[in-house]
Subunit: 370 residues, 2 copies
């Protein structure tokens, strides 16, 4: 479905245009983007080499050769070169690169030990980060990628629509999280990336996951969940549930938050900068007196990774462009009391933004009987 | 249960003894080993700094401060320093390190972009890999860690004992894999690390995961599964199942393999080197004519990571020592036909080895009716 050959061709052009002689890519989203191969990041070297002049090739451990060939990479015009356990795979990569590589780009998430090994294998090459080169390819999603993100968003929406089946007073966050994780898989993902069930005061911890805390009637519960679909694209959506009637101050806070998030999602359009979009919500929250309680950026890009460029954060003057996909997820946190966050994935279109998550952004009040 | 303060104290000594001025550790097994904090490896910097002289400290993004404090790290005598979204966390780490850091160790799996950012923040510091320093702490498991590995092994053994509930002709590898993944969580893990269900010819792909292939009567199926327990320790065990009667050549192959694996697990003792232990099984397999079909090393260490030191591989003259824990998993693969692998986790003891996985190593013949 995705035109991997085109991606690889664009990568070669980008490598040359960036003045690099080659880029080396180890397992992760960049490798999957360019080859369709979803390799695990283990200690053995798996590496795609994309020279500016010359043909790309994929080096894999011998025992993973069948898996690499069975992946979409096996259908590309891409030599798959296997190394045996006692070979030096770094020397193997070096030996197949064009002679005289002087500027070598390495993927940003390469393990340092692998970069150090490449330094030994290619001592005359200056190493630099390939992030900007690869990011430029991935930051604007193609229509096919937006379609894949829509499917991922619909999958996580189906899970949110079922949260009432599991979220009840008397259950622990962990038990509810287990049910949600099962549903993430059942509703169209192949991997559970994270499950946050933050009840009562835990709602004030933005990256809380789950705990053995027993959820109480009258509490608000922040549910922030995401997974990866078989196509490799990620979902990520946060909704807040109340078990019966939460405190008045929580309702006031939630009202401010919902206004901020709605205003921000409506403000998405080409040309607005990341910091401007961040400020749209931050100003509303600050005016209501919760400025110090919105302790994180507004959002992050999403695609083959849950967190990728563009980041919607103060200090980033990057203008949004059609095809960029990112979360809009302001939050307000009152330590020791409660917190809330509302999160949608939004795609910038030619004349505005498209919200991919479509479940209600109102506080979802559930039955508080155990 | 684990004496984290002692681990951190030993790390400080090790840093000084290695002639380093400080070691920086980002999320991963090293961070969890030293602090108990199981942080996710995201783009925002989370970093434990362990100076040779001076006190360690943990730098975290503001939104993760509550999660860090709620982790075992919060109970240590360890300052947790939060940074805000527009701060430079690398400069923050640099500013808190003792003046004049000249030799800086970085954890081996640090993302290259973070190492590059530390180079900018500490331009006068020479960077090197901290792997050897940290590995020396982790490679011999304490009695408490061996106990945790025993619990992980028992958990995955319970899953293997239930495989017959799900593995039937007419089902896809993916459907069986989903049931196994559910059971990995139900039987005492908090994370599914990998699920390999390799049926028929897919058994010849050592790192096959699952596919939509429909499993047939008469086939052998390699099931290699593992997860992480709440304590953070990993399980990993491979067994082979047959749906009815597999081909005679498969039975011959399995017999050789089982003899090799039994001989290897019985050969574990202090002083035998990794390459000697590898050869014990490789020789048996080669004598039976399958030498070229055993395409990988014998095993890998296991602990807070599924793959860690010591690797049981040709070329490694490392002598085994009491407390080392590793897999013994020879395999024989006939491309296009079938394959098999038998895997136990073994701990080297003062006078031999202890097999942690206790399910039968015989071929498990299941009912072949659909």
């Amino acid at each position: 479905m995705f035109d991997l050959a085109d991606r690889l061709a664009r990568a070669r052009n980008a490598v040359a245009e960036a003045g690099l002689d080659a880029v080396l890519v180890t397992p992760g989203a960049d490798l999957r983007y360019l080859t369709g191969y979803d390799a695990r990041p283990y200690e053995r070297l798996t590496c795609l080499a994309v020279p500016a002049a010359g043909d790309p090739f994929l080096v894999v451990p011998r025992l993973e050769e069948p898996a690499a060939l069975a992946s979409p990479a096996g259908a590309l015009d891409l030599p798959v070169v296997a190394w045996d356990e006692t070979d030096d795979p770094y020397a193997l990569v070096a030996s197949r690169l064009p002679a005289g590589v002087a500027r070598l780009g390495l993927d940003n998430q390469m393990w340092l030990e692998k970069a150090v090994a490449f330094r030994a294998a290619l001592p005359r090459a200056e190493q630099c980060l390939a992030g900007d080169v690869l990011r430029a390819l991935r930051i604007r999603k193609s229509p096919e990628e937006v379609e894949a993100l829509r499917r991922a968003a619909a999958a996580i929406d189906r899970v949110h629509q079922r949260v009432g089946e599991w979220l009840r007073p008397g259950r622990t966050e962990r038990a509810v999280g287990r049910d949600i994780a099962d549903a993430i898989l059942a509703e169209g993902h192949v991997r559970v990336d994270f499950v946050i069930v933050a009840s009562g005061p835990n709602g004030a911890s933005p990256h809380h996951e789950v705990s053995d805390r027993v959820i109480q009637a009258g509490e608000a519960v922040v549910v922030d969940i995401g997974g990866t679909t078989e196509e490799g694209y990620c979902s990520d959506s946060t909704r807040v549930y109340a078990l019966g009637q939460p405190p008045d101050e929580f309702l006031r806070l939630y009202d401010v938050l919902q206004r901020a998030q709605r205003t921000q999602t409506a403000a998405v359009r080409p040309g607005i900068t990341a910091e401007q979009l961040d400020a749209v919500g931050r100003d509303i929250i600050a005016e209501a007196g919760y400025g110090p309680n919105f302790v994180h950026r507004t959002g992050h890009g999403i695609g083959l990774e849950t967190h990728e460029e563009p980041y919607i954060v103060a200090g980033s003057s990057r203008p949004l462009e059609p095809g960029m996909a990112f979360s809009v997820e302001p939050g307000i946190y009152l330590p020791g009391q409660f917190g809330a966050r509302i999160e949608d994935i939004v795609v910038c279109t030619s004349d505005g933004g498209e919200r991919l998550n479509r479940t209600t952004r109102e506080l979802v009040v559930l039955d508080a009987s155990p």
